[in-house]
Amino acid sequence: MPLFDNHFLTQLEYLSLVSRKVFQGQLMAQRRTTRTGSGIEFSDHRQYTPGDDFRYLDWNLYARHDELLLKRFQEEEDLHVYLLLDCSRSMSVGRGAKFDLARQVAAALAYIALSDLDQVAIYAFADGILHNFPLARGKGRILSLMEWLTELQTGGQSTHLKALTSQFLQPGPRPGLALLLSDCFDSDGFETGLDMLRHHRFETSVIQLHDAEEANPRLLGDVELQDIESGISRRLTVTEASLQRYRESFAAFLKSLRNYCSSHGMDCTISTTDVPFDQLVLAMMRADSGPGVAG
């Protein structure tokens, strides 16, 4: 079954219409960023974290409540949308459903952005950037973009977000919207990579995808677990008790990701692969004003 069929394109158009209705009346580009910038319209406050620009601290509030809060303004600009697509081997778990969903979501978001006259670039990464689709504007590029996504394969080594962001930021791209589509299974942690994006004033959204089997594996007895990315094998005797601890550990990982995004003003969408891409995108748009969770 092709990744992007006619039905998929129909759904893309529907999603584009929905996004226009949601973000009606925007200046310049029809997408309004929520990051602090040169905009004049106050948006909201958020907690101060080291590295934030002191100029945007709300000193009045600090004087009244002894609390460091950062004022946020909606920046009105031509938005650059960067889709960071995880192509590591862990995305091929579950017969590739995770990678397929990631590519479909990437295509959908790119279509919406191109429809809104935003510029879109896609970076396929694992332990670094493997391939990239350069910045493009206009709906006319959507077909070549989908063709590029179709030919994309998983590969590389293990997921390494820090290496990704280092390579991504090295040319000094213009800040914009960075959408990370990944399972975030980074053994070094996802925080460093996301911090770097945040410090470079990228409005970051995280879309964490995982297979239902990863959240709730049905393994029992003696098994040899093989890490599909690193190739390292591990012999285990899986019991109900260890399964329970695994579920707790996985849930704690998702919770830490959600908390991180929430505390740093990032959108966070967590979904399993059995959720259709259109529902996932709609859930993201509904949660646009704040972190959201689907699936």
């Binding site: 081997r89 862990s90 995305m91 778990v93 995770k98 293990s158 399972d183 299974f185 053994s187 995982h210 297979d211 990863e214 594996p217 393994l219 007895g221 003696d222 098994v223 040899e224 677990l225 093989q226 890490d227 599909i228 990315e229 690193s230 390292i232 094998s233 591990r234 012999r235 285990l236 005797t237 019991t239 008790a241 260890s242 601890r245 695994y246 550990s249 996985f250 990982f253």
Partner: protein, 628 residues
């Protein structure tokens, strides 16, 4: 140790696929996962012990192989050689005589107590031991042959019931020894209440041990009960009653006598401790039926209660024959002795005539003095000194000075009659030509008194010349005539005495069974008071009644009879003093049988038990539940 089924060792080949499966199993199932970092977190918290993790697969295999080995071991049915050498064969002789129905003070019977003791012995059997059960009530018989299967023994034990019969302990011991013949370690275990033990058992033979059950109990019993028609009074009858007090204190009681459920008499009896009272009672009446004696403890009459632990011997029965008047027609030219002898018999309704009738009415008797028509009329006929030949005999002159050479002692026709010393100057020499039975024969083997059995009626012929001898002057003559009249009336069988349980007797068939049939029945059917039927053998017009196990009134009739008019009653009472005396036995329990314990289970049982435990262990090993 030896293996009873060594071919079962082939099952050890099952270990081969187990090893193969084990080798396949240790090649772990590979599962590709996106990351192992969560699993590492899990096992960083509780790392499995590495040494055990290395050993657990091997230990699992070893447990499985041990499991197979134990099962194969069990299938081979191993036997320890020393156990085989010590194999025991025990024959339990269980007393089921009447006294075992005695109740203990706690309400249980001696037999229930004995059964519990045998059950304990069954439970203690080892797998190689064998046991048989022999019962001694009425007749010694094997209730269960030698077997080592406890359930078979238990089933046989459950079927055993107490009888009213005597204790045939000697026969049971002999039967048990025959069962044990050829087995060196055979033992006989007698479980009894101790009544009527033989001297051999009291002396405790080496291969016999006695296990006594029950406790000394007081008892009052009817130990003898008989009835007979009076020899001097044709309408009278005599009752013999023995009542015994088997306790040390006096006993006051009453004995109720009933005839056909109608109260005949109530006898108050006071017995001293250990006394046996014999009463001979005379009553008059022609009616017959079932006479019953029952001990009653009537408190209002001052009778004692609570002195009787065995109830089966409180009742006794007897069969009283009915006296019926017989119409007799005497055809004679004048025989004063014969006429007077017949007139003296109170059963006879005599008619004297000189003309012989052509036929005899049913139920009546024709007595022909010399003048006999040819053919002899049908019906019951008594012929005295025939003077002409008939269809049944021919005549061959006179037999001078006949001497009695043979007399059928067992025939009821000659009951209480002796003709040895009777002077008989002459007799008719008679040559029978029809089926006959010689009752009295001369030395020359010429018949002096004979019977012709006809379908139309019996013919008795007395060839002696009454006018010359002294037979009419002897007491034997009226008795001979009375026997003949009784025979024709069919009442002789009714004189059958009351049997004791366990006693057998051979009696002549009732005459009417033969009179109305061309041949005697081939067998008879005997029915117990509870309705159980059995067949009795008939040989030469006599029926043998086997030892009866139950007291009460039994019925006897020809096999296949469809009517009830041929039923005859047979009375049977408890065997007597030996079963009714329940006082302290003279013997003590011996312990010749080595006590066995419940630990004597076969080796395969323990092997299977261990295999079961290992199966549980392996299940835990497989599930690895305890690792975490």
């Amino acid at each position: 140790m030896s293996l009873s089924n060594p071919s079962a060792l082939l099952w050890a080949l099952v270990a081969v696929p187990i090893v193969i499966f084990y080798l396949l199993k240790i090649r772990l199932r590979k599962v590709a996962v996106g990351t192992t970092m969560f699993w590492e977190h899990v096992f960083e918290e509780k790392p499995p012990r590495a040494i055990w993790r290395q050993l657990r697969y091997l230990s699992s295999l070893l447990v499985q192989l041990l499991l197979v080995a134990l099962l194969v071991f069990a299938l081979t049915d191993p036997v320890i050689n020393s156990t085989v050498r010590e194999q025991q064969r025990i024959v339990v002789v269980l007393d089921t005589s009447a006294s075992m129905q005695t109740t203990n003070s706690d309400g249980s019977t001696f037999l229930q107590q004995a059964r519990e003791r045998v059950e304990q012995s069954i439970a203690g059997l080892r797998n190689t031991d064998e046991m048989a059960v022999v019962v001694t009530g009425t007749q010694a018989q094997v209730a269960c042959g030698l077997t080592s299967h406890p359930r078979t023994l238990q089933s046989a034990l459950d079927r055993i019931k107490a009888t009213d019969g005597p204790n045939q302990m000697d026969d049971a011991i002999a039967l048990s020894r025959r069962l044990l013949a050829g087995h060196g370690r055979g033992q006989v275990m007698v479980v009894t209440d101790g009544n009527a033990l033989s001297a051999e058992l009291s002396g405790s033979a080496n291969d016999v041990s006695v296990l006594l059950v029950g406790e000394p109990r007081d008892n009052v019993a009817i130990t003898e009960f008989q009835v007979r028609r009076s020899l001097v009074d044709p309408v009278g009858y005599e009752i013999l009653l023995d009542v015994a007090n088997f306790r040390n204190q006096p006993a006051r009681l009453t004995v109720d006598l009933t005839l056909n459920e109608s109260l005949l008499d109530v006898l108050p009896v006071t017995l001293q401790g250990g006394e046996v009272r014999r009463e001979i009672l005379d009553y008059t009446g022609t009616a017959g039926g079932i006479l019953k004696a029952a001990i009653a403890f009537d408190e209002s009459a001052g009778a004692d209660t609570g002195v009787d632990a065995l109830t089966v011997d409180n009742d006794a029965v007897a069969v009283l024959p009915e006296r019926r008047t017989i119409p007799v027609t005497l055809v004679t030219d004048g025989n004063w002795f014969l006429q007077r002898a017949l007139e003296a018999c109170e059963l006879v309704d005599l008619t004297v005539t000189s003309e012989s009738p052509s036929a005899v009415a049913e139920g009546s008797v024709l007595v022909l003095d010399r003048h006999v028509p040819n053919p002899v009329p049908s019906g019951h006929v008594l012929v005295i000194q025939p003077d002409v030949a008939t269809d049944l005999w021919s005549l061959n002159g006179t037999l001078p000075q006949p001497l009695v050479g043979h007399q059928d002692e067992g025939s009821p026709l000659l009951q209480h009659v002796r003709l040895d010393n009777v002077l008989m100057p002459a007799a008719v020499r008679l040559l029978p030509v029809a089926n006959h039975n010689v009752l009295v024969a001369a030395v020359s083997e010429d018949p002096l008194y004979l019977r012709f059995a006809r379908p139309a009626g019996d013919v008795l012929v007395l060839t002696i010349d009454l006018s010359q001898g002294d037979l009419p002057l002897r007491t034997a003559f009226p008795i001979l005539l009375t026997n003949a009249m009784t025979w024709f009336s069919g009442a002789d069988f009714a004189f059958l005495r009351a049997l004791r349980t366990g006693e057998s007797m051979t009696v002549p068939l009732p005459p009417e069974w033969q009179q109305n049939a061309p041949e005697a029945p081939a067998a008879c059917e005997l029915k117990s008071p509870s309705g159980e039927r059995q067949t009795c053998a008939v040989y030469e017009d006599r029926v043998t009644i086997p030892p009866l196990p139950t007291a009460g009134v039994w019925t006897l009739q020809p096999e296949g009879a469809t009517t009830t008019d041929q039923i005859r009653h047979v009375a049977c009472n408890v065997s007597g003093i030996a079963e009714s005396d329940l006082r302290q036995p003279t013997t003590q329990s011996s312990s010749a049988i080595r006590p066995t314990t419940a630990s004597g289970r076969p080796l395969w049982f323990y092997a299977v038990l261990c295999a079961g435990i290992l199966l549980i262990v392996e299940w835990f090993l497989f599930q690895r539940r305890w690792i975490n």
